[in-house]
């Protein structure tokens, strides 16, 4: 009698356990699915095969990045984790961009960029340089790119 009671008791506990596991499992599954969907919509890197190559007025349409040498590397490496807007709204010289990359490598799991780093830095320093924003607002900006030479013959 006592043995049967125990058996029934165990069966009930076992069934309840299964039931709870199913419930918990469903919620875990459900929330993971939702998270994944949300992630895809807002934050996921653009799958490489979906990158459009359309350039309009010197700008890569899909990302808003300036068209230039190194554009493809920036798209591939930078927009894998964050939107291109994080690049386009910032201005820095080469050293400044290098500091950002080092910070991302130390704290944000950015990988070693290898020999592509130099090309990426050149692109960023050229098209997202600090002087661009400032000089554009001058009515006559300071003369730039002066090639100095000795003038003797007059």
């Amino acid at each position: 009698m006592r043995k049967r009671l125990n058996t029934t008791y165990y069966l009930v506990i076992f069934a309840l356990g299964i039931f709870m596991l199913v419930i918990i499992g469903y919620y875990v599954y459900d929330s993971s699915v939702q998270e994944k969907e949300g992630f895809i919509e807002a934050d996921a890197p653009i799958p490489l095969e979906e990158i459009e190559n359309r350039i309009e007025n010197g700008v890569h349409v899909q990302t808003g990045l300036v068209d230039g040498e190194g554009l493809n590397l920036v798209i591939a490496n930078c927009t894998a984790c964050h939107s291109a807007q994080l690049v386009t709204q910032n201005k820095a010289d080469k050293e400044g961009w290098k500091n950002m990359i080092v910070w991302m490598q130390q704290t944000q799991n950015l990988w070693d960029l290898g020999d592509q780093e130099e090309k990426i830095l050149n692109y960023l320093a050229k098209y997202y340089a600090p002087e661009q924003a400032a000089s554009a607002t001058f009515r006559r900006p300071p003369l730039k790119d002066i090639e100095w030479y000795d003038l003797t013959e007059q």
């Binding site: 350039i55 068209d67 040498e69 493809n72 009515r139 006559r140 003369l143 002066i146 003038l151 003797t152």
Partner: protein, 434 residues
Amino acid sequence: MVIYWLLGENPIIWYLSSIAFESTHMNAFDPAKRRNFLKKASLGSLAALLGTEIVFALPKNYLPVALENDPQTLFGKHKDLILRNNLPWNVESPAHLLDDNVTPDEKMFIRNNGLVPETIDVAAWTLTINGEGVRREKSYTLAELKSKFPRHTYHLVLECGGNGRSEFYPPAEGNQWEVGAVSCAEWTGVRLKDILDDVGIKSNAVYVGYHGADLHLSRDASKEAISRGIPIAKALEEETLLAYQMNGKDIPLVHGHPLRLIASGFPASVSGKWITALSVRDRVHDGEKMAPPSYSIPCDPVQPGTEVPKENMCIIEKMPVKSLITYPKSGAMIKDKTLLSIRGHAWTGETKVSKAEYSIDFGATWTPCRLQQAKNRYAWQDFEAKVSFPQKGYYEVWVKATDNTGESQPMLTPGWNPKGYLNNACHRIAIKVV
């Protein structure tokens, strides 16, 4: 001449095309093979570069860029001219290359709107005068034009309406000209007014529009690349020519051989190339690039960045007073206590330039330059000066011209307009006294 399909200014495409071109030497003797190779190489590599397929529908007979197509090889231009656009060709000169009093062909800017004609048959070339404002349509061969009408030669400035566009902010779209879309060559031809007299124009004539043999970029033969014109008063000016020579020789192909309308003092876009017909109109000519925003500015001044409705835009009918320092090239370092010779040209759409001055203190003080008289109206006038500097250091030499109406050049970029025309701000060069 074959004009290639060029893929614009995209550096990636240029880069790939250069690879493609270098790799094509093996196929150099078979144009068809080479063409296919070029197509495959450029497009394939671009796809590989961005890691995806690209759909790039090349129209038939169009080719990706080929690097031998540079303005030096094609048009005999100086190697230091600045390429702004290769389809259509738009090339400008740096200021220091414009030092000559008469601009030689090799240093003259190119501003094309369409494709250079592929064939020119000089013997069969005719000029037709038609339109609502002529008594009877009439045609002339080149030989007839040359024998029937007196020949005239003038030094005439041609300046692109958008010269200086690169300095406008907010930026104006179009070729980002700096200072060198200007020239002053010696043009020889017959007066348009002599031709119009011979044809006979009616009292309703208000405008003359031109038609040229250049192809539209789409190669659609029913479309004109550009067909602008001038008011009848401008057409009747003595210096308005149908020119068949430039600097004593046949006009170079890219500059309008065998016949070019020259109407200096207006934006150079009215000086149509490869002229086949002129329409005397009873209204403002309505050809390609006559409608705003092309070669038009706001009738009333606007705040920079304003969107201006077409009906508030007015056609540009005069180029403003302007000058250019052509010697020395910016960046000269000179020894302390030496005099610096400067020289250059000044011009205006008005009657003449009456004054050219320089400043080495950002406009605080101005000193007159020696100014030559113009060879004729609409020729540029040479100026020169010997400049001394009070102490060592960095200087900018600025030059400012004033014309007979009393109008002079602004030191700041002048009134913003949607397409960035008429920037006649003072030119300046950097000098270091060491």
